[in-house]
Symmetry: C4
Subunit: 197 residues, 4 copies
Amino acid sequence: MQKGRLEAFSDGVLAIVITIMVLEIKVPHGDELSDLKPIIPVFLSYILSFIYLGIYWNNHHHMMHTVKKVSGGILWANLYLLFWLSLVPFVTGWMGENNFAPMTLALYGFILLMAAVAYFILQNRIIHVHGKDSLLAKALGTDLKGYLSPVFYILGIISSFFIPWLAGVFYILVAFMWLIPDMRIERILREVEKKED
Amino acid sequence: MQKGRLEAFSDGVLAIVITIMVLEIKVPHGDELSDLKPIIPVFLSYILSFIYLGIYWNNHHHMMHTVKKVSGGILWANLYLLFWLSLVPFVTGWMGENNFAPMTLALYGFILLMAAVAYFILQNRIIHVHGKDSLLAKALGTDLKGYLSPVFYILGIISSFFIPWLAGVFYILVAFMWLIPDMRIERILREVEKKED
Amino acid sequence: MQKGRLEAFSDGVLAIVITIMVLEIKVPHGDELSDLKPIIPVFLSYILSFIYLGIYWNNHHHMMHTVKKVSGGILWANLYLLFWLSLVPFVTGWMGENNFAPMTLALYGFILLMAAVAYFILQNRIIHVHGKDSLLAKALGTDLKGYLSPVFYILGIISSFFIPWLAGVFYILVAFMWLIPDMRIERILREVEKKED
Amino acid sequence: MQKGRLEAFSDGVLAIVITIMVLEIKVPHGDELSDLKPIIPVFLSYILSFIYLGIYWNNHHHMMHTVKKVSGGILWANLYLLFWLSLVPFVTGWMGENNFAPMTLALYGFILLMAAVAYFILQNRIIHVHGKDSLLAKALGTDLKGYLSPVFYILGIISSFFIPWLAGVFYILVAFMWLIPDMRIERILREVEKKED
């Protein structure tokens, strides 16, 4: 029951964050197709951020599946993650409206990095409460994607100031890497369900 | 349980999308009835989009009823649908503020078309997971409305550039067609319930 | 289960409607107490609308308690109610920013009237589905408040053009009348629960 | 069940309040790091308010755990609390955009004070309905934090006009005091669960 409300609140915040981003796509004044041109970078950033938030919702969904009891630490680690994700609309807007200028690309990567760290903390809190033999601990295994993402974000941040388009490549790369759903947890869960039958 | 959270998140996003559209109806500065005149087209587009989003929520609600297990594919197909629906407030605002100019009518139809395609993909994902003998597969039957809608949207998009008001007629027509609730699924569900008694 | 999602969606829309109203209270540029003066009417309208939406949420909550099966008619009657309630932030903002000018007061009353009619339709749809001996039908009894409200709204709308402050009195009066919780339904529900014990 | 919807609605409002605050962080026009400078105070106020709303959500979550039946009084006390919390984005924005000017600091404290009083009322309503031997009544004990917070808020409000930075210290102090999770309720709940085993 406790878990239910944690999920409901996270779903609420993520649903709102993902949707208010669209408010950054300001309706242009003209009625020609060419009037949409200035909002193309805003739109592209919107797509990238939508995918990222979708990934977070998806992984959050899978991770919460393994949670059995919710401690105060998990509640706050979850809020800390939501804090960083709540800043995504701001950096998305800044990046889009300034046509992917170096500093905006770097800040976008920084927020992604902070969110990844927060996700990591939440994951550790859950494992801490449920034990090293818990479902999540097993499912994560070496957690390669979890370790690679921050590295790519940092490479992206650095690239922003020298080869801006490369930063974009790094951010898109991480997204693609995660789009492949977290098979590990799904697989372990399936095995557990089989055993229980 | 998995399904519950998918529904909750979709409900959240749809509730927000339907509500932030109202933010596009900017409060006019004067206090006379005539000051409301310029927002009449914005208001009319709001009504149409409200009905469309209501239809999507309604059909989504019926379709999810038939879902028994949620795969990663279903999660992402659902997010893809929400992505296109999240753009409805933008095209509604653009169309309303430009008094139904041709290009804005066409883009409105394009977003509706993309959402219809996304709904189609989600439907297929669900049938794929649940089998061709599943409730949804049976309930859909020939899915006439599902096939007609994209055709009408395309006719609407084309009309936008030649006979703008005809585009509006097409979009309203599709809405009316769907307002007739998805009897098929309701009927099949009722039969199944009867058998179980 | 069906009912659960209807409630969740309605809760979502009402929560957003009630909260985005606060976006109409624009942050003033100065930092003195006197800089808040121009937003006093906006704030007063916010309070009134917050109470009204609270009443709707409360009564909706009680009414839904009596619902056992959800028909397509109920779904759409509910969406129709949400449509009118979604316009409350707009009329609240218009009324507040124009210092309760006659026409804005009248439109505010008109939206309240339309919402009341929509609530009435939803109520009838539910009774239609559940029968005249249903809990809701019994609980409503003569439904005095339900019949008085539209009368007061209409008196308020007419007053707007002649004695503006009287319109405000009417709208506040209806709110107070409803603030007394819907004892009828609560009482009947308690009796039913007693019998079941 | 009744409780479920109360929680869902509160979660919805809190999720939206916490998220629309981010809309007050307006995207700056330049693309340099220095362009972010003017929004630093807005950002700092955002962090403080995010923590406060997180605390309220957390404590609300714990308190609702002890609730067994929901009366009309509890519903309205809850709405009254949500009303004051819904004003947090406004005072956060005003304080941030005016660089923590005295009057904005005082109003921020005033809203926190009103929310604390509302929380107190809700708490009393719940104890009133559930009896003095109820879980919540026991868990609260002397409720030191509950009594200290309003005192600190009032000290903060007074400080605003003489030593502004001290007001900030008071507000941060209360936040830290509450960040230590409400062990009392958690502990009592755990004991109760033990006894039941």
